[in-house]
Symmetry: C2
Subunit: 338 residues, 2 copies
């Protein structure tokens, strides 16, 4: 039986997807350079599922290593998570981002092509909508980039679109993630960022667990119900299940489709803080700070295409998101290093 190759399989979304794939009966092969992830995540996925994962250490920019991988294992499809994802960092070291994300994806696709593997699920992002002019955001909204990270995702979308135009027997889905949060409800796997978290939920969790003093809320004068920014938070287990559905879609379809993975509902920063405090009965001190340049007021998905095409929709609640985040963080205050 063939494997599903997960590049970046040990990362936050990769590990949760690995678990859902194993639960759905797939064989999982992970290829990860562990630059921002831990093999412990995959070991815990094995424990949770009672099944084994083949974990290979390697970099998608290493063409020879990829060739060896495709030579050694039978691979039917690739879910391509590997990539750098910190917006701020991307403005500091853009070449590193373009090398890892764009050149890495080109190398991966060239090797896939060489080995006749033409099914690909790609981790895109709602960042490709740039400063979206209206919400909810449909997949047909104009695309633009506001930083090198977003530019790299947009470039990869263009490259994959050109690839399918040239070779229509590829099947590719561009999954545009909104704001993944939460953790598996076992509390055994979750988000384990290096250094200061870039995203809201791990920051809230680290404040709650005492690793950080207080949360900075960037701007409380946006045109939203409480003045703080509104985003479409999606539970990582819902997101992971979306990947399984996308894979099953590609088993029957060719061509390329961009598909939003979001809930269609927006919550503000303060909504998240309040829900976290109430559900988990723990204080989350915060202070209001100036707006961050580039932040927009409101962003949430039009999620109906995923339902129509993949038969998928988000099922977890806000309480699940904040409860599972805390279960993971409180049981693993230092992430996988603890």
């Amino acid at each position: 039986m063939s494997h599903i190759l997960l590049t970046g399989g040990a990362g936050y979304i990769g590990s949760h997807t690995a678990l859902e794939l194993l639960n759905a009966g797939y064989k999982v092969l992970s290829f990860d350079n562990f630059s921002n992830s831990s093999d412990a995540a995959l070991q815990r996925v094995e424990q949770l599922s009672g099944k084994s994962i083949i974990s290979i250490t390697g970099d998608i920019r290493d063409e020879q290593a990829l060739r060896q991988l495709f030579t050694d294992y039978s691979i039917s499809a690739v879910i391509h998570f590997a990539g750098l994802k910190a917006v701020g960092e991307s403005t500091q070291i853009p070449l590193h981002y373009y090398d890892n994300n764009v050149a890495g994806t080109v190398t991966l696709c060239r090797v896939m092509r060489e080995f006749g593997v033409k099914k690909l699920v790609f981790s895109s992002s709602a960042t490709v909508y740039g400063d979206a002019k209206q919400v909810p955001i449909p997949e047909t909204a104009p695309r633009s980039a506001t930083n090198p990270y977003g530019q790299s995702k947009l470039m990869i979308e263009h490259i994959l679109e050109d690839l399918v135009r040239a070779e229509p027997d590829w099947g590719i889905t561009l999954l545009r993630y909104f704001n993944p949060v939460g953790a598996h409800d076992s509390g055994r796997i979750g988000e384990d960022p290096n250094g200061i978290p870039n995203n809201l939920m791990p920051f809230i969790s680290q404040v709650a667990v005492g690793k950080r003093d207080k949360l900075s809320v960037f701007g409380n004068d946006y045109a939203t119900h409480d003045g703080t920014g509104v985003r479409d938070y999606i539970h990582v287990v819902d997101l992971a299940r979306g990947h399984v559905k996308a894979l099953q879609y590609l088993e029957k379809n060719q061509g390329i489709e961009a598909i939003n993975l979001g809930t269609g509902t927006g919550y503000s920063v303060l909504d998240m803080v309040k829900a976290f405090s109430q559900v988990n009965d723990i204080a989350v001190p915060y202070q209001i700070a100036p707006r961050r340049p580039g932040d927009i007021a409101i962003c949430f998905a039009e999620p109906t295409k995923a339902k129509m095409l993949l038969g998928w929709q988000a099922e977890k609640t806000l309480d699940d998101m904040v409860g599972d985040s805390w279960r993971w963080q409180s049981a693993n205050p230092n992430g996988y290093k603890g």
Copy 2:
């Protein structure tokens, strides 16, 4: 004394620029994989100039080879010509284009950075203006891509812009070429395309020399003075001198500038055919064919930024363009292979 590194130095524009650089007193180091060029071009440049060129065979995607190059030679600046350039081919093998052009440029810049070489003249193209809405086209016109070749040039512009934003001590010029034609007036170096020429002038020359039956003129119902498409043809020696000027500009300036290299004057397909026939006293049989999808009616540059910033403007005439093209083609009917 340091060298100027020319990637793709043996190509059409690279070889003409090598000659102008040698004439201006620079030392030239060429790095070329000869995928679409011949070492004979560099040998002829050496004969014409009476000076020598260091020619290294290698590929810009080969990071180790680039490191070796920067270790072995003192390099003060890079003029980056290397890249694939056939629009039609790019739609057939887009991954190959993105790999060579985009990933290759990222690798080149990463190695330049490693060795502290931060002056770069990049071969961009007027193709980044997409379907330009008005002429003449200034550098500030909106950018878009209509094919993978153009997309690759646009991506590289974005990457280099992000690089300079992150590291302002780089000096980069994006030279947006309009339609290079002609040859050195010695007739010793010129354009030597593989297979069927993609561009008008080598096609005209090959018809004139008897290698092709007749020219197809794609569309004679455009809104132009004679119905055929109008382009901004620029003599390759003018273009080459623009690179020398850009290099001298970078010796004194940091930051990034996009600069059109065009004449500001448009000629139609039939203007070119007529001038070629008259100046060279040779028939160029042609037939009218349907429009090609994606072709626009009129495209010519607003060339004043190059004059202001670089002190450069095109000096060669239409008669020079068609005369020099024919001198090269008639003396070298099979290009460098002859």
